[in-house]
Symmetry: C3
Subunit: 373 residues, 3 copies
């Protein structure tokens, strides 16, 4: 038996300096899961996403490739797009002075463009004055972007996501990239993003606030986090037919998964801002967008096979289960945020044994910020 | 005749650094009048109060004692109570992970509590992981709390409150602790708390803004602060029957007071945040809650004998008098706050002779903050 | 041909430190155009104006002179006037303690004023305790104020305004001081004041966002700023009869202007916060009030001869033209402000040749702030 470990001190959840350092060293420096690729299925479709302090524009080119750019005109800095999403034909045109960019970022037109020259009198380089590109990789059907000039290997992301399951192939069997979005809910949570991560990582609270989830996964009543038991997942109750709010049957199991994966729930945290929940017939995928030290937008997708979505089958019984879990969790986080500034939490709270793996997350945060906070 | 004294400079009323220092060295370090004890008459009744930067929970135990705690769960820091007041049976239970505390603060239950051990493997100390206690003393029927680990002697509070009257027994004769709350108004004032103190301490403004008060206390028209004349109080006008908005008769005089105290109004300032107004048949008691450098909540109680309150006699004529005074004063303070940032007030304004005692308050503030601002 | 010049870096448009320095070194240190003198035509009329961080009170005396004071009572700092404008008879009386000032600022009354003495026991100097005066000069029918203790020569203002036209008499021929306000619109713009200045100074955006203006002034479609061509102005289109939204005829040309000035539009920037637009039959006069780093109030007057205004002739066709230009410009500025914090604008954007004169404005800003940012 070990003693209770301490959590991070309260200032990590309230300090403007800590959040600024997180923006610089975490959100703007790591791979950040931005949009579901299928949201931008057609050429010319674009979407604007907040990554750290930056407004990033994702747009699909005429060549079918998805690209990301800073949402800023290179001329005098007007925002190219002020709408959150939309569609253009062949170019992105800044409405202020009509500088116009191809969907690969190249500057293709501007008033009096012939008069724009470099120091030597030669025409300007149309890519040098094109939109500022942002690194982008697609995985699991999502576009992940990285604002760093030297992005870390994307294999780090894949490695972290698959390590939890003990096997790199396990997650692939769910075929997440080929699933369709059956439902999406966007939550605006008045809490620091780390409280949401910590909440997702432990199940000591499950018996207190998640009656429906515990109804489906009875072992969660024991208060031991499933994520600590690598690769095992949590087993459905014997009376439970599916991962639904009332335990009724769901849909056919996803074609690729094994018998071992049937009737089990797996939860994966991909730092900094992604949670993946795997069940036999669907996947629940969370992306966080930290907006300020005490506000986080969470976008949650429920993913099903194309058959289920195309046939418009009723997904509400499965959606309702995790939607309730989300509301219960975010309510707990919002109740916690205000106390982070108390002298009672100056040196943090404590972790019970079932939460000890949260200390790894805390060490990781501290090490990312080591040079600046 | 003396020259005009200077007031504090404007930054004392606008500086975020000054307000932070006041929170630390004044509100969180002195005895702070928090609640009327009778608001929490029954076991299990609780109330949440803002003291400096802390949310403090006051709760009456099964043993009848009133106690105060920081409103923070010791486990992962969720706020125990989010409602401003309420009632529980025997325990305070954190809704996040169900850590549960007795009304004396002891940790009495938690999921898997048997697994919680200290470094040596022994069960944890249930008080060491109990709610963080806050010092509490009851006086005049109010609970005063102190967040300091080493609270100053409470006799300092009593001494200051009674010194104004020249005699420690004078205030006791009003039997304030035994009175009932006949009416309460909560004011949200867009002004620094010190402007409200200064306003209360002088009567040079009375002839300008308090026609009803001057109608009852004609000597206030002279513009000389009653508080400067220790122990005398201000005498009712000869035509005035009671301390009411129109001078009509009030109620029977409080049983303990002397003939000297009859037909007189006494005003007492108890630093940092309490004003007490004594008149023959009732007491008006102000508590301030400084929320930010330019916002102060003021809670004002009108206290009468139990007979008056129980018989539901009409108290509106006395309530109306000081309610108007409050509105007139707070309006003046709100008109003053914005000018505190002007270069015209960089070195402060001036005090006329009838306001010279305000300089003592200014010196006191400066000395409390001496080490930090 | 020259290379593209860089603009100011983004922090100049977003930094609280930069805006604070601009308040101190620009708005509170230079001549600042505050009110149209005719708005305060009668003795006792007053208006409250925000200049930098100060609330300044402009009031016309019984002697017919316009004066400016800090809007702060010398006693305890209450704001003298909380209304934005109004009228008094002979004095300004502070409602808090009734200190009362003549319209020339002298302290003329206060309760117990006889007891107010200097250190030597002599009565206080009624001007030394009078309202704090602010320097004021009238020019072009506007009152310009300067908060500095040592205002710069007002000839600097006149020099800058007239230098653009190449001739000190040119502007005088429009007789701006004698015109009447035919219409006024107040805009609340969510953008830094310098974005608004830069927008006004260049016409490279005209073809993109100002169809009505280009309809009247076809040469603006070329995207070359008229202001760069000293003294020439921009010529009306051959089909255009007047400076109106549809090019229809306006009013008789102003009596003083020359044939050269007829059928021409001139634009003048008077730093820091004034734009003047001259057309044959009216004048459009902008005053900016920078409220915060990302918010600017702009007050725009349309000035016509007294005949036009007195006869209540319909001015809507000329008002509508520049009102649309204003809305188009301020929309562009509001679209630009959010991108100023992007890493893409850390070192600024670029200036095309037709905007190169903006670099002078940038150098001027940098030099004004040189000692502090």
């Amino acid at each position: 038996m070990t003693a209770l470990l301490a959590t991070l001190g309260g200032r990590y959840y309230t300090g403007a300096d800590v959040f600024a350092a997180e923006q610089e060293h975490i959100f703007e420096n790591m791979w950040f899961c931005a949009v579901r690729s299928s949201d931008l299925a057609l050429p010319g479709k674009f979407k604007k996403v907040q990554v750290g302090r930056e407004s990033v524009l994702l747009v699909r080119g005429r060549d079918g490739l998805l690209r990301a750019f800073l949402n800023v005109c290179r001329h005098r800095g007007a925002q190219l797009c002020t709408e959150s999403e939309g569609e253009v034909k062949r170019t992105l045109r800044c409405p202020y002075h009509s500088w116009t960019y191809a969907l690969d970022g190249k500057l293709v037109a501007a008033p009096n463009i012939g008069t724009l020259t470099d120091g030597a009198g030669a025409p300007i380089d149309r890519y040098a004055y094109g939109l500022v590109p942002v690194a982008l990789t697609e995985w699991l059907g999502y576009a992940w972007v990285c604002l760093s000039d030297t992005p870390p290997p994307f294999d780090d992301v894949i490695g972290e996501a698959t390590r939890t399951l003990g096997d790199a192939d396990t997650i692939n069997r769910y075929g997440i990239g080929g699933l369709d979005v059956g439902h999406r809910v966007v939550y605006d949570v008045a809490a620091n993003w780390k409280l949401i991560v910590e909440n997702f990582m432990e199940c000591y609270h499950c018996s207190s606030i998640h009656p429906e989830l515990v109804g489906v996964l009875p072992e969660f009543a024991r208060g031991v986090a499933a994520q600590a038991n690598v690769g095992l997942g949590a087993e459905f109750g014997t009376e439970v037919a599916g991962f639904t709010v009332d335990g009724a049957a769901g849909f056919d199991r996803l074609p690729g998964i094994t018998d071992d994966q049937d009737r089990r729930y797996y939860a994966i945290t991909v730092k900094p801002t992604v949670f993946i929940n795997l069940v036999p017939d669907h996947v629940i995928f969370h992306r966080m967008f930290p907006m300020s030290v005490d506000r986080t937008i969470v976008e949650c997708d429920w993913l099903y096979t194309g058959d289920v979505v195309a046939s418009e089958r009723d997904v509400s019984a499965s959606v309702e289960l995790f939607h309730r879990v989300n509301l219960q969790d975010f309510d707990a986080c919002e109740r916690t945020q205000p106390a982070m500034s108390s002298r009672a939490y100056r040196d943090g709270g404590v972790l019970v044994p079932a939460e000890h793996h949260l200390a790894e997350f805390h060490h990781w945060v501290v090490s990312r910020l080591a040079t600046s906070v």
